[in-house]
């Protein structure tokens, strides 16, 4: 009962006025890429959740700034710690005003991305907000310290929001090179660089000395027990027992798996690319459940859902969809790296 452009026809409107049909808001208008739009909605939902978490009562107390923002300065160099201390003092002095503002900004970003006419504005706001958040609130995700690791939330949820916002920028680019939603705007080469850099960085962080301590993994898991529901506590306890004293081995395996994920995108086999993405999603889920404690919402102190869902969303954006080669519209020279994302064979 709607026109092609999504507007309700007059006859449909009159039918609904007559009382025969309940008034329903209707369905969304056609989108150039439903898969891309779904990923944008995931980004919007995560931003909305992020903003709502910042309205928890704890955020408005004087404990928040020293315990949450202040914690990011541990081990940080002076050029990072000093500005964060400055920000911490401001938030400590005005916890209600600053946190209400933060929540409002993030809820606004989520709603703007979700509302189609303001999608670009929402993504721009996201890209403007992310550096500020990443630097002052997350201390660059711990990357400037010697203790950063994928199990500790590196490289920071904020920067992953930014990566996702760039990858999902609305673009109607088509052609043989468009083999996944991640390459539609930035192109194959840039998307591949992002993938390798992200997962390669996570693999490299596993090799840091601090992450190879015997108790590094079990301590991280045990830290999520406080305030958690009974069933989840039991699961974490089992995981803590199993990982106790095995930090070095687990981190070595994790580093190998992350390295496989990083290079899988370069292999000119669709199955390998997909296997890499599946491993990435599984690792993101494991990290989220066991190491990040779902972002630790059960303590009432969670400021975001943490990196797990964002890493998974980024991985899904790289999924080489079937039938993408049907979009061929321009002749191009097939290089081996190009085929990797396309999922074809190198033969």
């Amino acid at each position: 009962m709607r026109d092609d452009d999504g507007t309700m026809t007059r006859s449909a409107a009159l039918t609904e006025r007559s009382g025969q049909t309940p008034v329903d808001p209707g369905s969304p208008a056609a989108s150039p890429s439903p898969a891309r739009r779904r990923l944008q909605l995931v980004l919007a939902g995560l931003w909305l959740l992020d903003g709502m978490l910042k309205l928890q009562p704890y955020m408005f107390t004087k404990n928040f700034a020293p315990m949450t923002i202040g914690a990011t300065t541990q081990g940080a160099p002076f050029w990072l710690a000093d500005p964060i201390d400055w920000a911490k003092r401001i938030v400590s002095a005005h916890p209600v005003g600053t946190m209400a503002l933060f929540a409002l900004v993030e809820i606004g970003i989520g709603l703007a991305i979700a509302y189609r006419p303001t999608l670009k504005q929402g993504l721009i706001a996201c890209l403007v907000w992310v550096p500020f958040l990443w630097f002052f609130a997350e201390g660059l995700g711990g990357l400037a310290t010697s203790t950063a690791g994928p199990l500790d939330g590196a490289p920071g949820a904020s920067i992953l929001y930014g990566v996702l916002a760039v990858l999902l920028w609305p673009a109607d680019r088509s052609g043989r090179a468009v083999t996944s939603e991640a390459v539609r705007f930035v192109g194959t080469r840039a998307a591949r660089i992002v993938w390798v850099a992200l997962w390669g960085l996570l693999a490299a962080l596993c090799l840091l000395p601090a992450d190879r301590e015997p108790g590094s993994v079990s301590d991280t898991i045990a830290g999520n027990v406080v305030g958690a529901p009974k069933g989840y506590v039991w699961l974490l306890d089992q995981a803590t027992k199993w990982t106790a004293g095995r930090g070095a081995e687990i981190d070595a395996v994790l580093a190998l798996l992350l390295a496989f994920v990083a290079v899988s995108i370069l292999v000119p086999r669709r199955r390998v690319v997909r296997a890499g993405i599946v491993v990435a999603v599984v690792l993101a889920a494991l990290v989220w459940v066991f190491a990040e404690g779902f972002g630790m919402p059960f303590q009432g102190m969670a400021t975001d859902p943490d990196t797990g869902p964002l890493l998974a969303a980024i991985a899904v954006a790289f999924w080489p969809a079937a039938g993408r080669r049907a979009e061929i519209s321009e002749p191009a020279v097939a290089t081996v790296p190009d085929i990797a994302l396309e999922g074809g064979s190198a033969k």
């Binding site: 999504g6 507007t7 309700m8 007059r10 449909a12 409107a13 609904e16 006025r17 007559s18 009382g19 025969q20 049909t21 309940p22 008034v23 329903d24 808001p25 209707g26 369905s27 969304p28 208008a29 739009r37 909605l41 995931v42 919007a44 939902g45 909305l48 959740l49 709502m52 978490l53 309205l55 928890q56 009562p57 704890y58 408005f60 107390t61 004087k62 404990n63 315990m67 916890p95 209600v96 209400a100 809820i107 989520g110 709603l111 979700a114 509302y115 189609r116 006419p117 305030g227 529901p229 069933g231 989840y232 779902f294 919402p297 059960f298 303590q299 009432g300």
Partner: protein, 223 residues
């Protein structure tokens, strides 16, 4: 812990506004004999009234068991309607959302989501153990279910925002010219008169407000 007083007041007021607008829609549809989705309006009215009481003490109305029973019956009704409407995907989706909404409100009443028992706000104070002036508040039971509902409500709000049709300036002017002669505006709310009062877009806004307020109410007790 509890949130700033102005925030809980604002959130509760939003729910009261949703309830008031739903009453307004029902009254206008009845008096002017216009079509409206009675199920949605009645559900929004009930959630508006009950939800406000979950956030602020001053908005308390019926006892919790009564509200629990009301939404449990509503949930069963919408679940049955969802089963009967299997063939109509659009209607089924809407009824499924209503069912889920009733289930969430029932959960909230059973799990102990309620206005704070602390006098005054803890905003701007130290509240953690070991800190001066430690202040504690009650928390909900079944927090894992609450977390699932919080995530679900956020993504539901996003999908509702996504399906809102953008306002069209040209068509608004045209619709106004056409519809005002007949005494009511276009159904997308771009016209004037009763059409504007019954615009589906405003119902969608109510759904977004409800989803966000319920999310807020659960999160404030998810400790």
């Amino acid at each position: 812990m509890n949130a700033p007083t102005w925030l809980t007041t604002l959130v509760a007021t939003l729910m009261v506004l949703v309830a008031t607008y739903s009453v307004w829609r029902l009254a206008v549809a009845r008096l002017w004999e216009r079509a409206t989705d009675y199920e949605s309006d009645i559900l929004n009215l009930a959630i508006g009234v009950a939800g406000a009481g979950l956030v602020a003490s001053w908005a308390h109305t019926l006892p919790r068991p009564v509200w629990t029973a009301v939404f449990a019956v509503g949930g069963v009704y919408f679940a049955a309607r969802t089963c009967l409407a299997r063939s109509d995907r659009t209607v089924r989706g809407r009824l499924l959302a209503h069912t889920a909404c009733c289930a969430i409100v029932v959960y909230m009443f059973l799990a102990g989501v309620a206005p704070t028992t602390i006098n005054g706000s803890t905003a701007g104070q130290f509240t953690m153990a070991g800190e001066p002036g430690m202040i504690l508040d009650q928390t909900i039971t079944f927090p894992a279910i609450g977390l699932i509902f919080v995530v679900g409500l956020c993504f539901y709000a996003v999908t509702v925002v996504n399906r809102i049709e953008p306002l069209r300036v040209e068509s608004a002017a045209a619709a106004e010219l056409e519809d005002l002669d007949e005494g009511f505006g276009s159904m997308d709310g771009t016209g004037g008169g009763i059409g504007l009062m019954l615009a589906p877009r405003s119902v969608e806004v109510c759904r977004i407000v409800i989803a966000l307020v319920l999310t807020y109410a659960i999160l404030t007790k998810l400790v």
